[in-house]
């Protein structure tokens, strides 16, 4: 369903509401078919106000990674990654379920909804055991 992004809560608010309800959605343009993330009012590829929410496959690949070094008493090290989704869009995230040394650029990962660093709902990834 194409959403009217110029009325009611905007795309950021809609995304956050869906995420809080357990649904990770990205946008797809009804005019040029491009997938879009992060959420926007109009398509950054063709300019059409024809973006609709779609469910991504959740499959992705780590495009780049960094381990932020933090003192143990402040919570210890954590990772920050950029993931390319199978739909062709990129997002910042975190890879859970693996030691920092086990995170490699190019590794295959799968999305789920977990918690951000402040406990907020956030899309996170876990390794699927493959690499590209």
């Amino acid at each position: 369903m194409t959403i009217n992004t110029f009325e009611g809560p905007g795309p950021d608010a809609q995304f956050a509401e869906m995420l809080a309800a357990g649904d990770f959605r990205i946008q797809r343009c009804g005019e040029c078919d491009a997938y879009v993330f992060h959420p926007r009012p109009i398509c950054p590829h063709c300019g059409a106000a024809a973006l609709a929410w779609v469910e991504p496959s959740g499959a992705g690949t780590v495009y780049a990674k960094t381990i932020v070094h933090r003192r143990p008493e402040k919570g210890g090290d954590y990772n920050v990654v950029l993931v390319d989704l199978a739909e062709g869009v990129r997002m910042m995230s975190r890879v859970d379920g693996v030691e920092p040394s086990g995170i490699t650029t190019g590794m295959a990962v799968q999305a789920s909804i977990g918690e951000g660093m402040n406990g907020e709902p956030a899309v996170i990834f876990t390794p699927t055991g493959g690499a590209q």
Binding site: H38, A64, K65, T66, V68, V80, L82, R90, M92, T105
Partner: protein, 381 residues
């Protein structure tokens, strides 16, 4: 309309570099303006256009006018991060060439080191990055470094060589903030902050200010110092957030550098001295590639073996750069002041003999804004 050779820098000064205890960012800025006007032999009352961008004061152009007590025709406050000032020079050249202004002052100052001990910024984390707490701006550059290493085999040692070269230049600059010896091993053994970047891959946190005075070319010769001509400029803006950068190994410098060199009618091989915005070691590798000093992916190999260090074939960041000389949050102005001094032949032990053409390159945000300026002596007109 080309701006080549239409305007010149006739005054330049630094102020408060290192630590400026008890002084505000605007104090430092105004000291730099005072110095640049004296250097140019220009009265404050002659200034009819100003440009600035300050770390925390989003209306700093207005503050500057108020504190200087002038009533300029143009107040430029365009803000793209640390690259802003290399854009200000282009706007200055346009104002001068069109006759809309006669005397333009461009300036910056920050007391971030003595006031806070860390980067002072008005910029917060983007909505879709904040949940993952990347360090701003460091983790964005770490991601770019990781990608460059993954894609091209760039090594930890090559990143270190950028910092070692900068320190080598700083040791020849009495004004540089850090001048202790630094080896490749020191860099690699330094504290990890956001992998693969370590503390010695990161710029200094200093106080400091700088200012320039620009006038039309035909009157530039009437000033005490040899004019340094604006020969070309170009910009490239690609994103705001690192997660929106299409390819982390290709920056907007490819566009800004090509535009600046086309306007100036020069190529990378013609440049005598290079001043790059080295907030992090990876920047220098990316910009050398994107500006055409080497091929994409070969920047790591290019910086090895002291090629950009004193005595190397391409002098890069001859003041010691943001890595070892000065970095008060936004570094763009300092690329310009060092280029002016090199082209005037005023840099003592680090002087590049016969330097006629300089390239200055500014970076803003998280590799987001790229701005290139080509400057030259009268021999290049």
């Amino acid at each position: 309309m080309s701006l080549r050779g239409k305007a010149a820098i006739v005054g330049a000064a630094l102020a408060g570099c290192g630590e400026a205890h008890g002084r505000t960012s605007m104090d430092i800025t105004i000291e730099a303006v005072h110095g640049a006007l004296a250097d140019a032999g220009v009265k404050l009352s002659e200034v009819d256009a100003i440009a600035t961008c300050q770390p925390l004061d989003l209306l700093s152009g207005l503050t500057l006018v108020q504190e200087l007590g002038i009533a300029p025709k143009f107040t430029m406050n365009n803000r793209m991060g640390g690259s802003s000032f290399l854009s200000h020079t282009m706007w200055a050249a346009m104002l001068l060439e069109t006759g809309l202004a006669e005397t333009v002052v461009i300036c910056y100052g920050s007391n971030q080191r003595t006031a806070s001990g860390k980067l002072m910024t008005a910029i917060g984390l983007p909505t879709y990055e904040a949940p993952y707490k990347p360090m701003f701006p460091l983790s964005s550059y770490a991601l770019a470094a990781d990608r460059h290493m993954h894609q091209f085999g760039t090594t930890r040692e090559q990143l270190a060589d950028v910092a070692v070269a900068a320190r080598g230049w700083a040791q020849k600059n009495p004004e540089a903030f850090v001048r202790d010896p630094l080896t490749r091993e020191d860099v690699i053994a330094s504290r990890l902050i956001s992998d693969p970047l370590r503390v010695r891959d990161c710029c200094l946190v200093t106080d400091g200010g700088a200012a320039l005075v620009m006038r039309r070319a035909e009157v530039a010769v009437d000033h005490p110092q040899p004019p340094v001509y604006f020969l070309g400029g170009g910009e490239g803006t690609t994103h705001r957030d690192i997660s929106e950068m299409a390819d982390l190994t290709v920056t907007g410098a490819a566009q800004s550098g090509a535009a600046a060199m086309a306007m100036a009618g020069v190529s990378a091989a013609d440049i005598d001295v290079v001043q790059l915005y080295d907030a992090f070691t990876i920047n220098v590798i990316l910009f050398l590639e994107d500006l055409g000093f080497c091929k994409k992916g070969e920047g790591g190999a290019f910086v090895q073996g002291g090629r950009i260090a004193p005595g190397g074939e391409l002098p890069v960041n001859t003041n010691g750069g943001g890595l070892s000389c000065v970095h008060p949050g936004m570094y763009g102005m300092f690329t310009l002041v060092e280029a002016v001094r090199q082209l005037r032949g005023q840099t003592g032990e680090r002087q590049i003999e016969g330097a006629e053409l300089a390239l200055c390159h500014g970076n803003g945000g998280v590799l987001s804004s790229q701005v290139t300026n080509i400057l030259g002596t009268s021999a290049t007109l």
